[in-house]
């Protein structure tokens, strides 16, 4: 039925050489399907960001095979198969909001007459159309991050990689942004890989939560979130939601005990 967007088999990543070697990831098996919203959760040092960067071909695996959209991660990157959002919005502050969203379109040689309309459409999607002519420094942190999301989606990638995108935001903004990203996900049908260290965030957003543990980084559990795709503030008050939060928390604790390897 649904095709694989990411397929990892025995993927490992070791940084450094000789005595300074650090095993960041080992034995990662993971399958992500079209339309999935996958959260990678775990304590710091569990390699969740590294796994995201492996998928994006920002680092290369040391062992195992990793397939993105049926290709090597490198080819998928060259084919512009994914958009990425970091914890810091990483907007170019000499460009207006509109021009920031147009940046990937310029690099990917979209016809210049198409770019403004495309950027407007994306700003519409993240409800920032009124701020197209503003500059990044005139926006709040949450708004900057929405621009980053619009920019990541501007060229309609089939996969969206998000590396703790709301980590620097306050709780209120964070919850609003979660709603926002869910809406964008439903409207665009993009598959999402979302790195977070917040359990409620992972449960609220995901179709599946991938629990990771450190030393060395590995996947210790996967929890399917069988909440309906349409989620809102009420979802956060359902008992099913609480049960899942507890389930993820216990999986994390178990992973920590098991992962110590002492």
């Amino acid at each position: 039925m649904s095709s694989s967007v990411v397929e990892a088999r025995g993927v490992g990543k070791t940084f450094g050489t000789g005595d300074g070697q650090i095993v960041a990831l080992s034995g990662i098996d993971l399958q992500i399907h079209q339309g999935d919203f996958i959260s990678l959760i775990g304590p710091s040092g569990c390699g969740k960001s590294t796994l995201l960067r492996l998928i994006g071909d920002l680092v290369s695996p040391t062992t195992g095979t990793l397939v993105v959209n049926g290709k090597t991660p490198g080819q998928a990157r060259l084919d512009r198969d994914y958009g990425i959002v970091f914890q810091s919005a990483t907007l170019l502050d000499w460009r207006s909001v509109q021009k920031n969203v147009e940046l990937p379109l310029e690099i990917m040689d979209f016809p210049s007459e198409e770019r403004p309309a495309r950027a407007r459409e994306m700003l519409d999607l993240v409800q920032l159309d009124a701020f197209a002519d503003h500059f990044p420094w005139q926006l709040s942190g949450g708004m900057q991050q929405r621009v980053a999301i619009a920019r990541a989606l501007a060229f309609r990638p089939s996969l969206l990689l998000m590396d703790e995108p709301f980590g620097a935001l306050d709780e209120m903004t964070r919850e609003a942004m979660q709603q926002e990203v869910l809406r964008v996900w439903r409207e665009t049908g993009t598959s999402v890989v979302f790195v977070t260290h917040s359990i409620p965030e992972a449960v609220f957003l995901s179709t599946r939560v991938v629990v990771m543990s450190p030393r060395p980084g590995h996947i210790s559990d996967e929890i399917v979130v069988d909440l309906p795709r349409q989620r809102d503030q009420d979802t956060r008050e359902q008992s099913k939601y609480f049960d899942l939060v507890i389930e993820v928390r216990e999986a994390l604790r178990k992973g920590e005990k098991g992962g110590g390897a002492l």
Partner: protein, 281 residues
């Protein structure tokens, strides 16, 4: 409009205040040191420290009997020196920028050439200048262009160092972002690294503008070039015991030339900042 006028007025006032303060210090020093009979660190007599008004009057008196006033002669000389400096500044700026780009692209090139770039600045300009003049003469380079090359020698270094630093200034995630777009090295350079480097480059250009004037003045000496500030400064320093106020007056003009050049670069920078905000809005 009113704001701009007020700003100019305020700038003018502060400049005037500094000039007045300097004159008071200078004359006050002379007065007190003469009264006390002190000789150190600098003797206050008129042969060592001419009165400020004498320096000022020298500017207005004819440079030679029945000739045009000193200030006009020296301003003309300053203009010639500035022209040499400007050409040198352009050459040095371009070379510096090119080196910065080369080094950011190739760590190997940086490792191979950076030591020489740094070493080049430890060689005194007065040793380099005659060589450039002689070599320039061999290949029939116009003398003023040899002088410009000497100015360029002082100019390229700050630009190269700051360009490199600026090109490396984007956050690692910004570079990763460009990589995620499968951006080519050229696109990353022009769309991310160069715009990010511009504040660094402008800072370097201001340093270089001042350095290029020094380079041109020094370069005029071995070139034996007449009509510029270098020759006049040398001449007035030889006549210092007879007419010290002439050297001070000429130094004043040389300083003004440097300030004018740095001011020009600053104005261009302001323009650039404003245009870039406006262009995209």
């Amino acid at each position: 409009m009113g704001g701009a006028n007020r700003r100019i007025a305020r700038t003018g006032l502060s400049i005037l205040a500094v000039v007045v303060a300097f004159v008071l210090l200078w004359e006050g020093y002379k007065l007190i040191w003469t009264a006390m009979g002190w000789e150190n660190p600098v003797s206050p007599d008129d042969r060592t420290m001419p009165h400020t008004w004498d320096i000022f009057l020298t500017l207005l008196r004819p440079a030679q009997r029945n000739g045009p006033p000193f200030i006009l002669v020296e301003l003309k000389a300053a203009l010639m020196t500035l022209r040499e400096a400007f050409v040198g500044f352009l050459i040095g700026g371009a070379v510096g920028f090119g080196l910065g780009v080369l080094f950011v692209r190739s760590t190997m090139a940086e490792r191979a050439f950076m030591p020489y770039v740094v070493a080049s600045q430890t060689v005194p300009i007065i040793a380099i200048a005659p060589m450039v003049v002689v070599w320039g003469g061999r290949i029939d380079l116009p003398q003023w262009l040899s002088v410009s090359l000497i100015a360029a020698y002082l100019t390229f270094f700050p630009v190269a160092i700051n360009t490199l630093r600026g090109l490396r200034s984007p956050q690692p995630t910004a570079m990763e972002l460009m990589r995620s777009y499968a951006s080519t090295g050229n696109e990353t350079l022009w769309k991310l690294q160069v715009p990010a480097a511009m504040p660094y480059i402008f800072t370097a250009l201001k340093v270089s503008a001042a350095a290029s004037v020094i380079g041109a003045i020094v370069g005029e000496l071995p070139a034996g070039l007449r009509g510029g500030l270098g020759r006049d400064l040398l001449q007035f320093s030889q006549q210092f015991t007879a007419a010290p106020e002439k050297l001070f007056a000429a130094v004043l003009i040389a300083g003004l030339a440097g300030i004018a050049f740095v001011g020009l670069v600053t104005a261009v920078e302001h323009r650039w900042v404003q245009a870039n905000r406006r262009l995209i809005t």
